[in-house]
Amino acid sequence: MNRGSLRWLGLAVLAFGCLFCTDVWAARISEIKEYSILEQAARFFTLRDPSLRNALIGSVLMGVSCGLLGSFLIVRKQALMGDALSHAVLPGVALGFLWSLTKNPLAIFVGATAAGLLGAATVHAVRTTTKHKEDAALGFVLAAFFAAGVCLLTMINNLPGAQKSGLDKFMFGQAAALGDGDVILMAVVTGLVVVILALGYKEFKVTSFDSGFARAIGFPAQGIHYTLMLLLAFSIVVSLQAVGVVLVSAMLVTPAAAAYLLTDRLGRMLLLAAVFGVVAGAVGSFLSFVGHDMPTGPLMVLAGSAVFAAALFFGPRYGIFARWWKQQSRAARTRRENTLKSVYHVLEKRSFQGDSVSWQELAEQRRETEDEARHLGDELCRHQLATRPRDQADLFLTPSGWQRACEIVRNHRLWELYLTNAAHMAADHVHEDAEKIEHVLGEDTVRELERRLNYATHDPHGKIIPGLADVQSGLPSLTRGGRAVGFGSDT
């Protein structure tokens, strides 16, 4: 079966990846001393040295894997799982290190991954077998595992003759100390993440969106969850060197959250998150290299937060600024429409004799000063809804202005009528609601209202409801009074 063989292929890739990773890690421990010396020297040279190259490549790779996995954490609403797991790997790191002092240095990667998975399983166990909620379960794993890790690390520090070099780097990260081996390891893990997410994209997508449905169509939701946790643990372990235990969660969550604000498609979100991760990683490692004695992790996190802040404020669709702008323009439109309505009312009071209004009339109608009325009138002129010929002081509506004015009045009166007729509200209670509704009624709804109201011609206050023909043909039709022309024509 094709399906089966693909599954085996995936498993093989996974197994191969694990083996390869541990192999590469072996190289790291032995080289770390040389690189810490090299790193010291490298501070004095600028951009052309291997440690900077490693730092950059490493942060880029980390940005990719963290961004991709973080996206799934965000859409699954498990953002803090990253935080819990990143702390939970610490005892694994320490145990691996402790073991490697006397025996095999390969252990750190395996130990950390195992600790991470144990952490994920503990979260699940606490959640399902106690009354505690998700947050408490995550907090427990985070703190308890971290404490165990701290105990072990301090034990290591106090061991006679033990060299603790590099271990403190796990706390806040030092990208400049990344060795070739680290970078290869990161490349393998990132490759693994990319391959597995690409292979199982639809599985990850459907289980994240609707896990009940995924299980109902026979997908192993639990297995997919743990695959994700495994990849997460891998990715966290290799990122520790660069950002450190405490802040890995930010590399997972922040770029992905920024991407989440910018797109509505999961695929694009993954891409954007990877890009943002790379940007944060690269900027952070660059700053850390330039500044003296600066831990990389916090700088990467701050770079990522800056990206997030930019998306939060300036995102084209969901950004705070964009929404504010939309709100402002909607408010401005409502204001213009209300002015048009006032013009209509003025004309209506004179039974549509004459086709212009003076500032004074407008101001009286709106109970405002003439200056305010003039201001509103100018706004109409700017939007080509009205004109004011140079030799005259009065305001004339343009055809489009007239059309809009009729529409608004029609919407208002139809809605009032609907509320009194269909919802049986008192005639003096409906005005306020109509003031809001008139600006949002769509053309289809208006047609429906007209039909339901039997093409009524007068609103509850006895005023004529302008019809379609008035909207199109300008003033005169209404001056005839009685049944306005056009109400029957659009049946």
């Binding site: 859409v75 969106f209 609707d210 009940g212 449905f213 989440y260 509505d264 999961l266």
Partner: protein, 259 residues
Amino acid sequence: MTAAVTSENPPPLEIHDLTVAYYKKPVLYGIDVTVPAGKLVGIIGPNGAGKSTLIKAAMGLLPASSGWVKIFGEPFHKACGRVGYVPQRESVDWDFPVNVMDVVLMGRYGRLGLFRRPTAADRDVARACLDKVKMLPFASRQIGNLSGGQQQRVFLARALAQESDLYFMDEPFSGVDAATESAIVVLLQELKDRGKTLLVVHHDLATAREYFDTLLLLNMRLVAFGPTAEVFTHEILQKTYGGRLTILSEVAEVVGRQP
């Protein structure tokens, strides 16, 4: 699809002595029911009667304490390709970054199996299903920008795209507009006429009689199952909704509190 090899056609759904407990508190007691093919079954009962639990347990989404379920004569995990599911609308995050088309395509995932990508043919099916629920113009809309009724139609389109023989639907009429409700009813009838079997959780007693040809009345245990005309009687409804069952839920509470 090749014809079934078995000499007799097994029933779409057979539930035997099914008991389900949430944590420790039993919510369904000893359900025994066999649903014949081609029926449109409404699952009716008061709040907390275990309606959703029944269909979730039938699909193995909730572990059963005892009893078994067979779908077309097989355990669920073997027959899941023939089962369509419409979960409650509230069960998913509508902010999720997918559009309408993506969601409907998910209906094809079960047929594709693991690791295979949807093809152009799958897209055509999805498009046809969207058209059927009159949501094709919204195909590229983000799902959060839809009204409740539209969201429900998307879920229905996804179930249609599954091209199943047995459908479980969890409250498809809740929170939808009148137009969507009647569209769903037409759709359900149509599926039934094509020989599909449908089990629909429904909470509105007033419409149950006209929507469904068969009713399953539930209140922690099976009260009645049969053609609507036969079981929609005052006596049976009294049994389902009446207060005589308080002892059952009291016992469940006591069991739930035990260590």
